[in-house]
């Protein structure tokens, strides 16, 4: 599900939730839901940033 999102997709979802929040048309429940969701995507984004492991791998020609 949301764990399969790329950084960019998660960021897009995060921005969608932010936009919803900032447009201010949400009910309180929906606003709090949007906050929770935004936090989830924020976490995914942060995880994606750390997902790469500094590593230089050389694949010599066979």
């Amino acid at each position: 599900m949301s764990q399969d999102l790329t950084y960019e997709q998660a960021l897009e979802k995060l921005d969608q939730q932010l936009k919803l929040l900032e447009d201010g048309d949400l009910s309180l429940e929906d606003a709090l839901k949007a906050v929770d969701e935004a936090r989830v995507y924020l976490k995914i984004c942060t995880e994606r940033l750390e997902a790469a492991k500094r590593k230089i791998e050389v694949r010599p020609e066979e």
Partner: protein, 449 residues
């Protein structure tokens, strides 16, 4: 023998040299084709050599600056097309061809072939922007297809790791020059796709002459790039012309640094952007909550204001409704009816009790019947006896019995008063005389006292 006017003004050697140079000045941007010989590199990085054909020879010179810029460095025995100007070197009294560009002799044919390839690819839509794959915003890993040695791979790695310190780099070492380059690079690109270790591929080399870059104008490479599922970025050097590889690639950079920046975002920027979003989330949440709290407070205030009236009116209505309900409710009706029933029940009970009482009395009297009967009979006998006795006394006392003895009773006819003295009547008054048998009406004639 010189004529006097001729001898009057001899040229110095320098003047002559300058004159020659001036005369030679139109000989610029010439193209000369010939074979190279005697190639020598000078201490200051310049080159000296000769260009010759079967019959003639001219000394040639390549400045160090130009030597760095030419597409290829000539070697002895090869035929090249040289571009340059003719100069007279006054110091040595020699005429030289100062080269500023070197091209292979069959360049025209190669260029023509290249143009034809470009036309074909163009017709296929290989260069169309809409065909190009998007570069990932943030790759999991970057594949580098380049020479494993030299400045290019170093610059690439440095740029990438500088921007993104924990980025994974997968290097596919290839030959980037010579006839082996095109198949080597194509193979690496296919492997790269097959292994899927990276999300984006950089094909890089540090520039070079037209000839050196020719591998990147090869259809084999163009096809390999077009077939790649992974987006491909070229970084083939800022000194070279645009190659077919550049044109079919998904992004085209000149230097390794540029390519590194293109494929990997700056991690610190991303972190900053995320932190900014985090702040916005927190701010939105806080704002929303405080706004909500405020709204609730306003409403509470309003509620407190309207509540008393509201409650009063409601209470009144409720009271009315309650009364109606009480009156109309089946329960109440039932209660009322049952009350009636109870009442009736009570009355029935009372009546029954009464009847029962009477019954009991009756019953009791019946039980006493014999006794009563006896008493009655005895009373009756007694009464009869009394009656007989009285009848006898009545008979004895009755005036009738006196009358039978010859007495009579005179009564005033009008008043009925029994006359006991003469003065009880007067002459002329009607009297009635009761005899033992019958009565006589008479009028008083006279009275005597």
């Amino acid at each position: 023998m010189l004529k006097p006017e001729e001898a009057a003004r001899p040229l110095t050697v320098t003047e002559l040299a300058n004159e020659i140079r001036r005369e030679l000045r139109p000989l610029v941007a010439l193209l000369v084709k010939g074979e190279v010989s005697g190639m020598k590199r000078g201490t200051k990085g310049h080159y000296t050599f000769s260009i010759k054909d079967g019959q003639s020879l001219i000394n040639a010179f390549l400045w160090a600056d130009d030597a760095r810029k030419v597409t290829t460095l000539p070697e002895d025995g090869q035929v090249f097309i040289f571009r340059g100007r003719v100069d007279y070197w006054a110091q040595y009294g020699t005429v030289r061809f100062v080269v500023d560009q070197v091209e292979f002799d069959d360049i025209g044919k190669q260029r023509a072939r290249l143009e034809e390839l470009k036309r074909r690819l163009e017709a296929e839509g290989a260069f169309a922007p809409e065909r190009k794959r998007r570069l990932p915003y943030l790759p999991r890993a970057v594949a580098l297809i380049t020479s494993p040695t030299g400045a290019v791979i170093h610059d690439l790695q440095e740029t990438i790791l500088d921007r993104y310190p924990n980025m994974t780099i997968v290097v596919y070492p290839v030959q980037v020059q010579g006839t082996a380059a095109a198949p080597s690079i194509s193979r690496a690109l296919r492997r790269c796709n097959a292994e899927g270790l990276a999300d984006v591929v950089v094909i890089a080399r540090g520039g070079g002459s037209f000839e050196e870059m020719f591998a990147f104008n090869n259809e084999v490479i163009a096809r390999a790039i077009l077939a790649s599922a992974l987006p491909v970025v070229t970084a083939l050097g800022h000194t070279s012309d645009r190659t077919v590889a550049d044109m079919v690639a998904d992004a085209e950079c000149r230097t390794p640094t540029e390519a590194g920046s293109r494929v990997v975002p700056r991690k610190s920027d991303l972190l900053k952007a995320l932190a900014e979003r985090e702040r916005r989330i927190a701010r939105e949440q806080a704002q929303r909550l405080s706004r909500e709290t405020e709204r609730i407070a306003t409403r509470r205030q309003r509620l407190l204001q309207v509540l008393p009236n509201l409650v009063r009116a409601r209470e009144q209505r409720l009271a009315r409704a309650r009364a109606d309900v009480a009156r109309l409710s089946p329960v109440a009706q039932l209660a009322r009816r049952s009350e009636g029933l109870v009442d009736r029940g009570r009355r029935i009970d009372a009546a029954a009790a009464m009847r029962l009482g009477r019954g009991r009395t009756l019953l009791a009297s019946r039980r006493a019947e014999d006794r009563i009967e006896r008493a009655i009979l005895s009373r009756f006998a007694q009464a009869t006896r009394g009656l007989d006795h009285r009848r006898e006394r009545l008979i004895a006392l009755s005036p009738d019995s006196v009358l039978s003895r010859g007495y009579s009773i005179t009564q005033d006819a009008d008043t009925g008063a029994v006359l006991r003295a003469a003065s009880d009547t007067a002459a002329g008054r009607r009297v009635r005389i009761r005899l033992a048998s019958g009565r006589v009406g008479a009028r008083v004639e006279e009275t005597e006292r």
